[in-house]
């Protein structure tokens, strides 16, 4: 381990004391922050040359690569996606749990396991394909009891998983459990867990989709994933359950391999990288490829440490009991700010009026940049990402609260959305194909659409045909809203702004995004 200066140690100690004394952080948030600060003192990774100049800056000061607070000595993969179906079938020796035999035990077992699933947030980023997991037990009790149990289950999750980067999946086929889950999330109006409905043009019935849309217009979830598209990209058959593929949607909207996850996620700040380029050609052929190379080698170093040195896969019961497999992990090669990069480069070429998402030349430059990144990733090989052919999975990262003038992934900046929703959709359909590990667009919807949920259904079904990967809708007047991928209650942001404690740490991120990311100013459709 490398030495560090006493100056840095003392600066960190000051920060730790601030955490201890913080009036707004809850106890759990303080413990997590203390651990992150302790980790920040470790220096064990073989960092690639040139990384520091790209990474160790503020985002407003030209930072080009960001590792999203993953820490200096990763002690677990960033995102872990346990094989809950196997757990339900076999139980767990470590947790001394036999396989559940009814709905009471099924829910109890899941709630126990959640407390033992690590992640970068210390909360489970994936809580399971809940319709399939509960369906075998759903007829053990009458419907009213099933509803009540699932309601308690979801309340328990919201009050104990204190971070809304936690995701449940349902669909694509309708089930009784799936319908009860949609009823319950509509009633509860809670931020946790996030919920995705996998949508398949043949398997998802109109009634099931309509139930999903009604819940979404009420409480901003579920979001809708293009099941055939993900299913093609993630090999492995029906690991999640019949017709449900071998992928899950976890955290914000991250497509990840089932029974594995993602070792790491770093992101390129494309707009800041553009500031180092003379023009579009210089960007695509010289500046960007250099940064891509450094970030890939940085991710390689992180992955190597997790796999070869951390001991996680040798010692954690999830791996030992076959609930996760080292060879079902990949890594997420993220990016933000495509719009800002394009607009900056267009301005440098004297075409500032040609904006990303509006002008064909500008949007085509966005496609060209994505092709450069995609081609780089297809060339780069990592020995531990075998599940994705030895390559990383591209990810359109949703941004973090401190991002200023940085649009998530490939999104059109808020305030510049095309006047017509269809024009907006036609831009984003050109970018969703690049991102198996997640991208998504979010549309607040005028309340009059509550009378016509089929309007949203038509848009979802059309979008799937056009190769759009993932869409979220929420009602312009609902309390639970989607910030960038995760959910927050507006009423909780208000509490935090008044200086009160709030239970979910994502509320603070939502408050930041409200001010820095203008997320309350999205164009209402």
């Amino acid at each position: 381990m490398r030495e560090i200066s006493m100056e840095r140690v003392n600066a960190t100690r000051e920060k730790m004391l601030d955490v201890v004394k913080s009036p707004t952080l809850t106890h759990a948030q303080k413990v997590a922050n203390m651990a992150n600060l302790a980790d920040s003192l470790l220096e064990v990774l073989d960092l690639p040359e040139g990384l520091s100049g790209l990474l160790d800056k503020e985002i407003t000061d030209g930072q080009c690569i960001c590792d999203l607070s993953e820490g200096h000595a990763p002690l677990r993969p960033r995102y872990i996606v346990p094989d809950y179906a196997r757990f339900m079938k076999e139980g767990s020796a470590f947790l001394e749990l036999p396989p559940p035999s009814d709905l009471y035990e099924a829910i109890n077992s899941l709630l126990i396991l959640y407390k033992h699933v690590p992640s970068v947030t210390n909360f489970p980023v994936y809580v399971g394909q809940l319709d399939t997991l509960l369906e075998p037990f759903i007829n053990d009790v009458d419907e009213e009891t099933a509803h009540r149990l699932i309601r308690l289950f979801f309340t328990h999750m919201d009050r104990t998983i204190l971070d809304s980067f936690s995701h449940a999946n349902i669909g694509p086929s309708p089930t009784k459990a799936g319908r009860i889950i949609l009823d319950v999330v509509g009633e509860l109006e809670d931020a946790v867990p996030n919920l995705t409905m996998k949508v398949d043009p043949l398997l998802t019935t109109d009634e099931f989709l309509a139930a999903g849309i009604k819940a979404a217009l009420h409480t901003a979830k579920p979001s809708f994933a293009n099941h055939p598209m993900f299913d093609r990209e993630f090999p492995g058959g029906d690991l999640c359950g019949k017709d449900q593929g071998a992928y899950v949607i976890a955290s914000c909207y991250n497509g990840l391999p089932y029974g594995g996850g993602s070792f790491t996620l770093c992101r390129l700040i494309l707009g800041n990288i553009a500031k180092r380029a003379k023009d579009a050609d210089d960007y695509c052929t010289r500046v960007l490829p250099e940064v891509l190379d450094v970030m890939a080698r940085y991710m390689d170093a992180r992955i190597r440490f997790i796999v070869e040195e951390s001991g996680f896969f040798e010692n954690n019961f999830l791996a030992k009991e076959g609930l996760i497999h080292k060879d079902r992990f990949s890594a997420m090669f993220g990016l933000v700010g495509l719009a800002e990069a394009v607009n900056d480069l267009m301005a440098k070429e004297g075409k500032a009026e040609k904006r990303f998402g509006h002008d064909e030349e500008a949007t085509a430059l966005g496609v060209r940049i994505m092709d450069v990144i995609d081609a780089f990733n297809k060339e780069h090989r990592n020995p531990y990402c075998t599940i994705s052919g030895g390559h990383f999975l591209l990810h359109a990262q949703v941004g973090i609260a401190s991002d200023i003038d940085v649009s998530p992934g490939t999104r059109i900046p808020i305030g510049e959305e095309p006047e017509e929703l269809i024009d907006h959709l036609r831009v984003l359909m050109r970018f969703h194909k690049y991102f198996p590990s997640g991208t998504g667009d979010i549309f607040p919807i005028d309340v009059t659409v509550h009378r016509n949920p089929d309007y949203v259904a038509d848009i979802i079904r059309g979008a799937m045909k056009e190769g759009i990967r993932y869409l979220s809708f929420y009602s312009a007047d609902s309390d639970v809203i989607r910030i960038t991928g995760y959910l927050v209650k507006r009423s909780e942001i208000d509490k935090l702004e008044d200086g009160k404690n709030v239970k979910h740490d994502t509320t603070a991120l939502g408050m930041g995004a409200k001010h820095n990311g203008k997320i309350l100013e999205r164009k209402v459709r």
């Binding site: 269809i422 959709l425 005028d446 016509n452 089929d454 038509d458 848009i459 079904r461 059309g462 979008a463």
Partner: protein, 282 residues
């Protein structure tokens, strides 16, 4: 065979003009003179007086050598200045489109739309155009809906009838005298067409605008619901009860009263008590 119609506007995605997501085409010109019309600028065709030209801030309007007002769609900023100054309840912002040209603008929304609705003005003033447009739509499996005042006898127009999936029809008043006072026309044809459409399952929706000072809404809602009840098994006709609102109406009618919510709720219950299953208040 190529038919044209004056197109006022095309809304590419609409959630309020029939089931699901639809493209809506608004045609210009109307044979009624409803006092409460909330888009009176769609009523008349442009008479080329040119009063609007000087008011256009975008230079999208000009007069040619023959004295015709020309409209440049690409230059238009849709500020509505021309409509506000028009003394004839018309709009210069009209494109004369063939059915094929109209269809090409609808087609761009596939696969996001399930159908198309043609509205107005009064769209059935252009039956040959509609027949051709809907035939093109049906070839790509788009649902076709007409939004009409019910004056056209669709049964006398088989080419249009056959390619029309459904009709949304206004019952402005049940009493013929009230109807005449409101629109300058009687309602015998409208009510006859309504029943004939319901009998063949093509009536999708009826609507009544509630303007208490001019319309006996209670009688209209009761009688309409009662008349349709026998046919609801053929198609579950929806009843939309719309509160009069002064926004957009001609200024001589803007001072009419809006109905209060309890009265609207009463009308909704009334329609339901007569057997209507789906009633929407707007």
């Amino acid at each position: 065979m190529t038919h044209r119609a004056p197109v006022n506007r095309i809304i590419r995605f609409s959630s309020v003009d029939g089931p699901g997501n639809r493209t809506v085409v608004f045609l210009q010109g109307c044979n009624y003179n409803c006092r409460y019309c909330h888009n009176p600028e769609t009523r008349a065709l442009c008479c080329h007086c040119g009063d609007c030209v000087a008011h256009c801030p975008a230079g999208a309007l000009k007069k040619d050598a023959d004295g015709h007002v020309l409209y440049a769609y690409e230059a238009c900023v849709f500020c509505d200045a021309c409509i506000r100054v028009c003394p004839h309840d018309a709009s210069p912002r009209i494109r004369s489109l063939t059915a094929k040209e109209t269809f090409e603008e609808i087609e761009k929304q596939i696969p996001y739309i399930r159908g198309v609705t043609v509205s107005g003005g009064e769209c059935t003033l252009y039956p040959s155009y509609l027949a051709e447009l809907f035939r093109l739509c049906k070839e790509l499996s788009l649902e076709t809906l007409l939004d009409t005042n019910g004056t056209l006898d669709l049964f006398s127009r088989p080419a249009l009838f056959d390619v029309t999936d459904g009709v949304m029809l206004d019952v402005k008043a049940w009493d013929a005298r009230v109807h005449r006072a409101l629109t300058d026309h009687g309602n015998g044809d409208v009510l006859r067409h309504m029943i004939a459409l319901a009998e063949c399952g093509k009536l999708h929706e009826v609507r009544t605008v509630v303007m208490p000072e001019m319309v006996d809404a209670e009688r209209t809602v009761r009688q309409t619901a009662r008349a349709l009840a026998p046919y609801l098994h053929l198609y579950p006709v929806r009843y939309k009860i719309i509160a009069f609102r002064p926004a957009g109406v001609r200024k001589e009618y803007a001072s009419f009263a809006t109905p209060d919510p309890p009265y609207l709720a009463y009308l909704s219950d009334l329609a339901k008590s007569e057997g209507m299953r789906e009633v929407i208040l707007i």
